[in-house]
Subunit: 305 residues, 4 copies
């Protein structure tokens, strides 16, 4: 897959067709700048004046509405917070609409149907990787859509990421995204429970992490992003859980996973419990902290004994 | 750690002091044979005549009781199913007792105290790795006990495994073991829920596994031991969940984790839910199947719609 | 509240305006017959010919579509399985639409908005009580809508039930229904776990039920609908869990509760876990059995040991 | 049962044999005073000097140790916090030992075996009802033990409570107690989730409580002890969760339920999750608040948004 994406990358960038970009938040702002850097002229929109100004300074043309963005281009990238925002995006007949938002897969499917009626190609292309990966252009895009839609989108997505994976029909990009994040959300709580229990049983945290990582408990959350302060450098847990992926955003993604589970009648006992734990954390003031702060949330709170 | 163990391995094997071995089941039988192969004369005991005969044929001396084993040696290895069996093992003053059973860490601590009163050195040394790893002598031992106990035990344990890790004071070997298995039990259910959901959402199972394994959902259960039939060769899920680590044994280990959580007042929401899921599976006839059969348990049962 | 409903009942029934009724399933069929018995001429529709014939024999006029039902009346009752069916019901300007289906409260709110634009009064009026209560006309209706809508609807609803409760604005009928059923679903699993544990600890089931019912564990599921066979007569648990409220229907209602929890950001750890348990049961062939069969599902299955 | 207890009460009190009492905490202090009031001379022990002085002032004789208590009497009541304390109580041959502590049923069974060897009759007799019920002498005792032990104990227990229920063999008193409290702990969280969700969906809390209490969601926690402030007067939720039964004590009881579930291989998915929730609450400073404060814990914390 990476090889395929790389091929597209080499042949695809540096062309000059103007591209529309809607949604310039923490992620979208960096993504748009990377498209600019690769030589694509941009016309952009965001509800925030500040975000618009940042892109204007970087060389983008600013539009007054999503409709104005869409009126002048045939390629549109959207990066929006919720299904309700994505539903409002409309583009010209004959366009390619690449939606990088994380939303309900069934909404992507409805979008694609409506798009097809108007002669528009729609692909869902949510991303893996955080703000730093967006800035550095090393995101992974999980793309759902027809083969030709995937190929057309790859030209643009490969300018903003290092992997552009074709997952299958429309909606499967979202499906892959929420599946990964559900498993990530579960694993992180699992590692947090385990580290906390092990420490209470007398194990040194670094020793315990080493044992897990050479054993069958090993996972990304224990190896690369350990939630226990002091085990790894350069991760949110060693910086008071600042930066990273907020517990409120994880709660949102696990809510999407729960909707998908319910509509497909798939049991997800740990996925649902993980959802509830991050929601409770968010209600207790952890929403803006990195989701690995569940380690801290589970610990006995010294001042509150 | 591995280097340290390797050093012990080279200097330690091929000596001739007779060793006692109590508990010759699926794991213990292989472990005892590996000690024999390394040149240690053995005196052994098991409740099963068959298990005793197998070891007799391999060259071991057979005793009529655990006490008879202990009467003739100063090094004893035990590999028993439950705390209650371990409590019945007694050895001579001045002996080294290496308990490889997976039991409650607090029982290990009580055993060590009682041992110390009698001038016996006790280490807990539970293993990671299954029956095949026991047969091939590539287990990992997680050792809890004083430094000199660890060093003395390493001579014998390194003949049966490739890693002998010193985890800390008595009980920390058990702690590391149950921590790892709790996280493993959680991860496996998480991967199973995720694979089942993804398939219902239209993703190809191999494609989904590939995406997880290049993303933050990656874990041992998705990469090395995927529970979805057909994703990996040579794992229990591709052999109707035969072999491997039975759901009933996982239930037992997660029960130990729950006891430890309760006694140390550590919250383990997903660990407790995983425990309950494996228990329900066991009650429904999955006890002897590999624990990765939770994937099958969560699936909609076709014949039962 | 009951008094108010009774008053409406006495003054309201036996009038002659023709009423439309859409959805004649297990519940709706009985409800429609009760309206007929009270003297209301009916025009009815259902997808099933059999259901239509049953009502025809009882004296109702049969229509060929929901639209045909609506064309001739200004009062319409609907009793349908899913939100998607309710969304398709349209009535004439100036009509009163009483939706007795159990659906997402937010769908009821959307329906009410659309209705208001057309000069239609919409109330949500889901029911509590099963098939027998529908047959006997002793349902409880939980009504959401404006005061005048509630009053107008009470004329008809009181012919089919003994309690017609005004819960508040549109959607609150549904809210009350799914809140009650979420708590019921949790309590029933709680009682089942408790009865099973107590029996395993040596308690006689009837004795245990008696103790719970005189203590703080007391609930409807322990007192009136005990899930342990032999404790009470005349309940599904003493009839091999036949009849009653199927686990699949409970799963649907708890799915609505989960959607509502997610959209209102309300944590429901036990509600979500109950949802998952009934879903797993349904996947294992318990969907048509009464939801109290969770007692049986949790028990160790003798033939499967 | 109540009738039987009442009979015992009338015939039993006002006799003059001296009784030993060990453990004079919040509950035990009141219970001992009630025995004194009924005319029984007491010899008492507690680790706290203050508690001893209170009983001395009330007329009891003070001993310097549990052994000193036991040396002078043949009837002993114990009311202690943990299994470890109960294990230390020894009485003279021929005595009756009534243990009112809430401990692991298997510990009660071990105590009874050891007692039988010494010619001592042991009954477990944990209580239902809080500090006020202890003060007012209206506790319920759940008694496990042989018939004659139950009858002998009833003389004394009926002086401290209004119901003395014979549950079965030794340990069944504890079993009944932890079964009830497990169900109570589950129900209270269920009611709290439901009330919080309903309010967020627009329902008035009193209206919602009324609907639940006339429907199948009804339980002691919704009717008698509603956790939502303002629904009922005179309960902890209307007094900032002061008084009542602390979350830390509920956590302890649910831990006993979990141990019993594990040892009897009984699945308790909601029981285990309830245990975890109260543990997390306790870690976050709710340990001393009434356990119904789970309602507050689940709510969105305004200051922390």
């Amino acid at each position: 897959m990476a090889a395929q994406a790389t091929k597209v990358l080499q042949s695809g960038c540096n062309k000059a067709a103007k591209v529309g970009f809607i949604g310039l938040g923490n992620m979208g702002g960096h993504m748009a700048k990377n498209l600019l850097k690769k030589g694509y002229p941009l016309v952009v929109y965001d509800v925030s004046k500040d975000n618009l100004n940042t892109l204007k300074e970087a060389g983008a043309e600013v539009a007054g509405s999503p409709a104005e963005v869409a009126s002048g281009v045939t390629k549109v990238v959207s990066m929006l917070p919720e299904s309700s925002h994505v539903k409002q995006v409309t583009v010209k007949s004959g366009s390619l609409l690449m939606d990088c938002s994380t939303i309900d897969p069934s909404v992507s499917q409805v979008m694609a149907s409506l798009a097809a009626e108007k002669g528009v190609t729609f692909v869902d292309a949510p991303v893996s990787g955080g703000v730093n990966a967006a800035r550095d252009g090393i995101l992974t895009f999980m793309v759902g859509g027809p083969e030709d839609g995937y190929e057309a989108a790859s030209e643009y997505l490969s300018c903003m990421g290092k992997n552009v994976v074709h997952c299958g029909a429309v909606g499967t990009g979202q499906a892959a995204k929420i599946c990964n994040n559900m498993l990530l959300g579960i694993s992180m709580i699992g590692v947090s429970e385990t580290m906390n229990l092990g420490i209470k049983l007398g194990l040194d945290p670094k020793m315990l992490a080493k044992i897990l990582n050479m054993s069958s408990g090993r996972c990304w959350s224990s190896e690369v992003y350990n939630p226990c302060p002091g085990v790894l450098d350069g991760v949110p847990s060693s910086n008071n859980y600042k930066g990273g992926f907020g517990a409120a955003l994880m709660t949102k993604d696990l809510g999407l996973a729960q909707s998908a589970s319910t509509s497909t009648k798939s049991p997800t006992p740990l996925g649902s419990m993980a959802h509830q734990m991050y929601r409770i954390m968010t209600n207790h003031g952890y929403g803006e902290k990195d989701f690995s702060s569940v380690f801290k949330f589970l610990q006995e709170q010294e001042g509150k004994k």
